[in-house]
Symmetry: C2
DNA sequence: AAAAGAGTTTCTTTCGAAAATTCTCCATGC
DNA sequence: GCATGGAGAATTTTCGAAAGAAACTCTTTT
């Protein structure tokens, strides 16, 4: 067999190695496929031919299939009986289902985090908010939008939202939030790439409102701000992509 | 290759063929493994050796691995890097996490179903309640508890709870409810098998209360009854299994 | 010309074996 | 006596090929 367990750092198209380094090729396949689907490298509905994937990622059937099976249960990939896999299609209805579900999960998680959170939790929120804010400003100044820039911004954004609910003390809520984030990401893509006429909308303010209410332990307001935040995004996308 | 696509009805240890007939062996593996884990054929934490599974189900590595990967994302199976798969362990903390998450999901789904449900929805609830009630009475009269009996009762129970939320109009909520049901099922097993001193508890009444409030479109009460129902079950299990 | 059908091609799915890794257990040294 | 280490066994993971199904094409028939 070829060099396997050694060359696993995988230079990779994406310069982000996850926190825990994968030690099986199936894990590598899962991460890369997921990242590529979420970042729009494949378009919705596009068939994922195994032969193509095999070449693209330099892996063979088994690890790819395992990865695709996992992604299927996360709703990023769909499969018809003997007709292979394809990227999950998109639609307004699905988008709203994702968004509403995400609001349900994250509001509950936020409620619990506000109840349970300690000093470290608060510090984490402030830190990730700051990192996000910095990145937003830098980006708006430089006016460039290359891939890595956008990916970094997106990471900061996710980090901020994750830090808010990190103290909720529920495995399930956290991983559901992760999954739903990946799903919504696909819908936000055209917006992030600037294909949508910049909405008259102060996203930074929305983030600040969420943070302030959270740190003030004002659960109801925080949940409301969070829900509004996601719903506004939905409306912007609905009004342009699905117009 | 051996006779494949033909002999797929699979007599099977469990006499329940799902609604959509699986046409791949990976699908068969998924269903059977899932059913066996949920019904307690394997104990929590038990390693699932591929060689053993291969013999037991008469399948080879590939379909089994695909099934296990899917079950992993459903939290019924856990896996350590190169150390194979095992049945997800159980604990009080995990149990409550499942139950609380289930309450969150199903209460929201119930709320929406009550808002959207039509006549067919109501009819479905009444019908499945009746079927469940009948099965409960029959069982308490005959005093026998063989496997098929218990499985049937459990199906009726699931059907009832599913019918309540069937009109919620969200893919995600419905499939999440399914997954969480499978997880809770593992915890309820000792109770169903009669290993726990029968709690002084009128489950039939609880079901009726949920149904009545739902049909009366009293969303708040229905949600409360539903949440109480699941929480009581949790407490009974907590007080006996994890004592 | 449309429909049906046989043959061809493409793709998925499954298998069994080979490679890589972890586990087990016994000997060895301190 | 107890840690250390290192062969051998057990197990997982990966590969490439073979088998099966669906899609496609091109002919033939009504």
């Amino acid at each position: 067999m070829r060099a396997r367990r050694n060359g696993l750092q995988e230079p990779g198209l994406h310069a982000q190695d996850g926190p825990e380094t994968a030690s099986t090729l199936a894990e590598v396949a899962y991460r890369q496929l997921r990242a590529d689907i979420v970042s729009g490298a494949y378009s919705p509905g596009q068939p994922l031919r195994l032969e193509t994937l095999k070449q693209r990622y330099g892996l063979s059937f088994s690890p790819l299939r395992e990865a695709l099976n996992r992604l299927q249960t996360e709703r990023l990939v769909v499969t018809a009986a003997l007709r292979g896999f394809s990227v999950a299609p998109v639609s307004v209805e699905e988008m709203w289902d994702v968004i509403e579900t995400r609001i349900l999960i994250e509001c509950e998680a936020l409620k619990r985090a506000i109840r349970n959170g300690d000093d470290d939790w608060e510090a984490g929120i402030v830190a990730s908010f700051h990192a996000l804010d910095l990145q937003v400003r830098r980006r708006s100044v430089e006016k460039v939008s290359d891939g890595s820039d956008l990916a970094l911004l997106e990471n900061r954004h996710q980090e901020f939202h994750r830090s808010l609910i990190s103290a909720c003390r529920s495995h399930r809520l956290l991983s559901l939030a992760d999954q739903l984030h990946a799903e919504t990401q696909r819908y936000r893509l055209p917006m992030l790439a600037g294909k949508i006429p910049a909405a008259p909308r102060d996203v930074a303010l929305e983030h600040r409102q969420i943070m302030d209410a959270t740190l003030a332990r004002d659960s109801a307001s925080a949940q409301q701000f969070l829900a509004d935040h996601y719903q506004r995004t939905g409306k912007v996308i609905e009004g342009s992509v699905f117009a």
